[in-house]
Amino acid sequence: MSTTVRSSGPHIESRDTVKRAMWDVSIALIPVIAAAGIFFGPWALYLIFASAFATAIVEIPFVWKQLSWRNPLGDGSAFLAGLLFGLTLAPGSPWWIPIFGAVMIVVVAKQAFGGLGHNFFNPALVARAILLAAYPGLSTGWRVPLEYDAVTTATPLTGASADYLELFLGYIPGSIGEVSALALLIGAAYLLVRGILGWRVTIGYLGAAVITALILGVDPLFTILAGSIMFAALFMASDMVTSPVARFPQLIYGIGCGVLTVTIRELTQLPEGTTYAVLIMNGLTPLINATVVQTFFGDVVKRGRRFMVAGAAAAVLVVAVGVAFGTGALSSFAESYYVDGATRQDLASFFPGARHVHRYDSERDGVRVEQVFLNREPAGYLVYASEYGYKSRIDMVLALDNEDRIIGIRVADHNESATLGALIRRPSFLNQFLRRSTDNPDAVVDSLDVISGATVSSRAVASAVQEALSFRIAPAAPAGRIEVGEDGEYEGTGSGYNGRIRVRVTVEGGEVTAIEILSHSETPDIGGPALERISEAVIDRQSLDVDTVSGATGTSRGVLGAIQNALGD
């Protein structure tokens, strides 16, 4: 060969540059950032921009040769990764999170692999995954939009309620950047105009999410509007570096992301699946790239290879779904070893930061009540109730505050039909139960707005809520002075927090004079003192209407029940 190589064309080049692509994506995020500012206030803006600039600054030592005073942000990739990371944060995150994220993005996720273009995993998501693992509590500091100082709440995914319009506009709790589908779509439109939206990934992602949702009996519209699917499909999964290069592989990758996200959401303990779904598919990208090969133009002979391509695509999807179900199985395995019945998920979403629960009362009529403690103070109750619906049991989870009002409600499990029965999961239906209290449980049923076409399912939910709210009434301690019989010693049992409590009650002269705890299996630190205090209080007041011991309600109730039992009730 002669020296033709040096002078070969093309001698012109498009105006597209890496830098332009990065800044275009950043520009497309402006509506999202604006929405974040409106909904969550200045702190959210701090989190976003602190992340972006911190990431750019941390990257300086690695790319200083490419930087100049006129071009301090280089190719803009670090700034963009930081921006994306900031948008995944909970609005109440502490000040240092952006710096933590910046270091993880640059050092662990990007430069360790060799810098821009060489990383396998989306840097912003790697940083987020590390954050989730290291500080799980931080991912749950959700706030109600427009109420900057308001207390934390649950995201729609974990129980809070919202209707479609609220979901679309973004008037819902959630990560800073994910709440407003409208803002995300405006950004996406810009990317589409600029020709850099990986639309095959996005379409594959959203389409697969909808179909998977239908298969699993989840409301598909809710699925893509709530949580971060939209954000991930438009800005995370479609990241060029970590997604496949060719057309068909991009579609497969997007579909994989969608299937995984929804399966992780629905079948595992994790409230949100996008982070892990996209990271898993990032990992599969080289495999998809290598397996799914387009037949060359004119390669008429090898058209049969298209079948191979389809086979490979199916194999990748099977692997992806297998991983999802695998994680699902593993986490249900983990759940069986979880000491409390309350799932971590319910705690995290309804009572962020709360770590302790106590069984409030023994299981009765399918209703289970857990008192929740936050920093050793009672924070409210999780009530689990269940009722037969159209097909089988519908399991409900209610969160009550200390005033016994419903602050959150979620359908934990159901087998109702995917089209109609599943509508009971809609926020617009569940919303009607909010702020109902134990004062009048029957009102729930009396004033129920049923979903047309799903009357049985609707009533079942209402009935479950009614039962759940009745937990105060049924076992209510008899008021007033105890009625005692003849003098003597009486034995009785009651169900405490951990098990049976046996007591011997001594009656002399028409009064209870002594209460002896014969056996119990309560926790010594918590239940022990309660046993003593309740016994003393009953003797003192000659009444079962005594205050339960804070932090040991289950034990308190148990011992009261035992005394009542002994006295012949």
Binding site: V18, G115, L116, Q294, T295, F297
Partner: protein, 445 residues
């Protein structure tokens, strides 16, 4: 056939800056005969021809300078000027090689003195004789594919495969170049005449003239002409690079896919360039051999962009001078189109039958040398008209994994450069693909 339909190939391709406005309305002007010409004895794909003249000989325009010999792929070379043979020397070529060439000093007063062949009378010939007569005349006239490939046309016409459609490639998808554009506007008669000759020579039922819609005047002209030719259609193509690539033209116009490593005749098609067919018409009807060709001299780096009718052997410098010289300091001179052409620095390189354009790019529009890491954006894959993965292919080449590179399509690449044009990281993909090909042993090729 719907005369107003606009067709395109289905997957890949990209939209380039067109820049045709500079010369699309500039009529073809003859380049004045320069003081000396240097005519290479190999202006075709194949081996050089043997010299037929001696130093000191007086030659006339149209005289044979280089003979064909019996075997091999060759095309006769004629003198483009009337004058005296000064000697033989090695002429520099745009690709850096040299070719044996004849230097002639034209006699400025005798340029109308021209050797012509006898016009062919094809009336009343049998199909067999018609074919033989035309092919012989095309060979004598030294006609090669003037789209740039310079494959000898008599060999192409003589292939045995049955052909049902002759497609004229007027796509001209390279930016700046307006050779076929102007010829379709100015010489549509000769074009249709030539197409009829070719069509009858190869026994095809149908002829199609295909032209991209970014040449509205040319398109209108061929549409008007086609009305009078029952066997010929005008076909508009969307503006998309590389529509001028033979196989993609066929895919767009006829929706037939030429198999890899096969010729268009495998799907019953013959493709000819606009200017080639006009040269055939001239050779048959006027007896004029191919000694001149149209060259577009354009770009923002030249003062007066023009379409020139140049005598083969005039230098690139001659053409640039006639167009007012450089408009900017140190323009980048590209021979051919900006996408597939070759960058040169030596203006003494003679123009040949393959020279379609001379484009003077400004430094600003010229592709730079700095490239970044691949960010897997997939744009190269998106635009590749051969459905190849350029990013992966070149990664293999750079890792010296030639086996994998070959499997990824190293040799299926048509070097159109669309991938490199769109690459946001500005990676020299074509250069790497060429490097990979040169590394693969000739046996494997």
């Amino acid at each position: 056939m719907d005369n107003t339909s606009i067709k395109k190939f289905p997957i890949g391709g990209t939209h380039l800056p067109e820049e045709k406005e500079l010369t699309t309305h500039v009529a073809i002007t003859p380049l004045p005969v320069p003081a000396e010409v240097l005519i290479p004895l190999k202006q075709h794909l194949g081996a050089p021809v043997e010299p037929a003249v001696k130093v000191g000989d007086r030659v006339r325009r149209g005289d044979v300078l280089g003979h064909r010999i019996q075997t091999g792929i060759r095309a006769i070379v004629h003198s483009s000027v009337t004058g005296e043979v000064l000697g033989f020397e090695d002429a520099p070529m745009p690709d850096g090689s040299t070719v044996h060439a004849v230097r002639i000093r034209p006699d400025q007063s005798a340029q109308t003195d021209e050797t012509l062949m006898k016009p062919l009378d094809l009336e009343g010939l049998s199909a067999e004789d018609y074919r033989a007569a035309v092919i012989a005349r095309v060979e004598e006239a030294g006609i090669v594919g003037l789209g740039g490939a310079t494959f000898p046309t008599h060999i192409k016409l003589g292939l045995e495969d049955p052909v049902d459609t002759v497609v004229i490639n007027g796509a001209e998808c390279e930016p700046y170049i307006t050779v076929d554009d102007r010829l379709m506007q100015e010489r549509a008669d000769a074009l249709f005449r030539g197409l009829e000759i070719v069509r009858r020579t190869v026994g095809a039922e149908r002829g199609v003239v295909a032209c991209e819609i970014n040449k509205p005047d040319a398109l209108q002209k061929i549409r008007e002409m086609a009305v009078n030719y029952p066997h010929i259609d005008a076909q508009a193509l969307d503006t998309r690079y590389p529509h001028g690539a033979e196989k993609h033209l066929i895919k767009a116009v006829l929706d037939r896919e030429v198999p890899l490593r096969a010729l268009p005749s495998a799907v019953g098609v013959l493709v000819n360039n606009v200017q080639t067919v006009i040269a055939i018409a001239d050779a048959v009807d006027s007896g004029r051999p191919l000694t001149h060709r149209v060259v577009t001299v354009s770009g923002h780096g030249v003062h007066e962009p023009k379409n020139l009718l140049v005598p083969v052997g005039a230098t690139i410098g001659d053409a640039i001078e006639f167009c007012g010289g450089d408009a900017v300091t140190d323009p980048v001179i590209v021979v051919g189109g900006p996408m597939t052409g070759l960058e040169i620095s030596n203006r003494a390189i003679p123009m040949t039958k393959s020279t379609g354009g001379i484009v003077l790019l400004t430094v600003e529009e010229h592709a730079g040398n700095v490239h970044m890491a691949c960010i897997n954006c997939g744009k190269c894959v998106e635009v590749c008209p051969m459905y190849l993965p350029p990013s992966r292919m070149t990664a293999y080449v750079n890792a010296n994994m030639l086996e994998e590179a070959t499997n990824a399509g190293l040799h299926a690449c048509i070097l159109c450069g669309a991938c490199q044009f769109v690459c946001p990281s500005k990676r020299p993909l074509v250069e790497w693909i060429k490097k990979g090909r040169s590394l693969v042993s000739p046996v494997r090729r």
